[in-house]
Amino acid sequence: MGKRITTRSAQRKPTRSPRREKERCVAVLKKLSAYIDDELPGALCDELRKHLGDCPNCEEFVLSLRQTVALCRHRPALALSQAERARMRNDILRAARPR
């Protein structure tokens, strides 16, 4: 992070290039829902998991996306009262069978 290596030999190592790293993060980001839903083929999944292990930013990102999905899944639902349920049933039947 603090070191600024600008020699040509350093640039030859693709994994060290910040640009390549960013591209990898973007590629990972595009697959995160498939990853969370366990829909990635094995090899891709391993590759992605390896990246997450090496990249704290993506690791944080996937955590927050997982949390988002978990919150959606667990959002409690509103319920109708017995009286509302009965009233709506009568309204529907009245509208369905106009006499």
Partner: protein
């Protein structure tokens, strides 16, 4: 108005009508809570949700004899509700239905990568006991363009498979997944941004996450 003269459709024989009414009662009894839950998630407010439920069951009643049971009853009802919802929304002026591009969710700074959801280390159930978080989640979902909200609600809230969602909204699985991913990224971003305002000092102090760092 519609039934004063028989036009195309023959008048149903009483026997069928009685059967339809009895089946309708069972259908309504078994599915009204599920449809109300779905409707509140789509509409965000109880009155609009009740309208949608009524419209859904009215259409279900009218279409009951055509329903051959090839789809699960609940999937059939979801599809009726989804259509009714898009008709109702077209009448009102809802949020503009824009496309979400993946590019807009690519973080441009470390702070954006590390946006936090204000759950403070709690389980989702525990975290959602916090009214502010629930409201922030609802606002984030409500802010989704409607075709993305439909997919997110069906898949992540109602728990349908991508294939079932595709059948309901008329998309292939791949398109459903693509829409779902964008919808989740949108909610994540909204939720973490709203968390800044919603979780004032006590929450920040509690979990120590730097919510403010990706603030812009």
């Amino acid at each position: 108005m519609k039934s004063s003269t028989s036009t195309k459709r023959p008048a149903p024989v009483p026997h069928n009508e009685a059967r339809t009414a009895a089946s309708f009662d069972a259908l309504y009894r078994d599915h009204v809570d599920q449809m109300y839950r779905f409707a509140t998630r789509l509409c965000g407010e109880p009155e609009a949700a009740k309208d949608l439920v009524q419209e859904t069951f009215l259409n279900a009643y009218r279409g009951y004899q055509a329903f051959r049971g090839e789809a699960q009853v609940s999937t059939w009802l979801y599809a009726i509700a989804a259509r009714a919802c898009s008709r109702m929304r077209r009448k009102r002026k809802g949020a503009p239905d824009r496309e979400l591009s993946l590019e807009e969710f690519i973080p441009t700074s470390e702070g954006e990568f590390r946006l936090q959801i204000p759950v403070g280390g709690l389980s989702p159930e525990e975290a959602l006991q916090n009214k502010e978080l629930r409201q922030a989640l609802d606002r984030a979902i409500a802010a989704l363009p409607k075709k993305y909200r439909m997919v997110l609600v069906l898949r992540d809230m109602e728990g349908l498979s991508a294939k079932e969602v595709g059948g309901i909204v008329g998309l292939n699985e791949r398109a459903v997944k693509s829409r779902l991913h964008r919808a989740r990224l949108f909610v994540r971003r909204e939720l973490s941004a709203q968390g800044l305002a919603a979780s004032e000092p006590s929450h920040n102090a509690h979990n120590g996450h730097p919510f403010t760092q990706g603030g812009r």
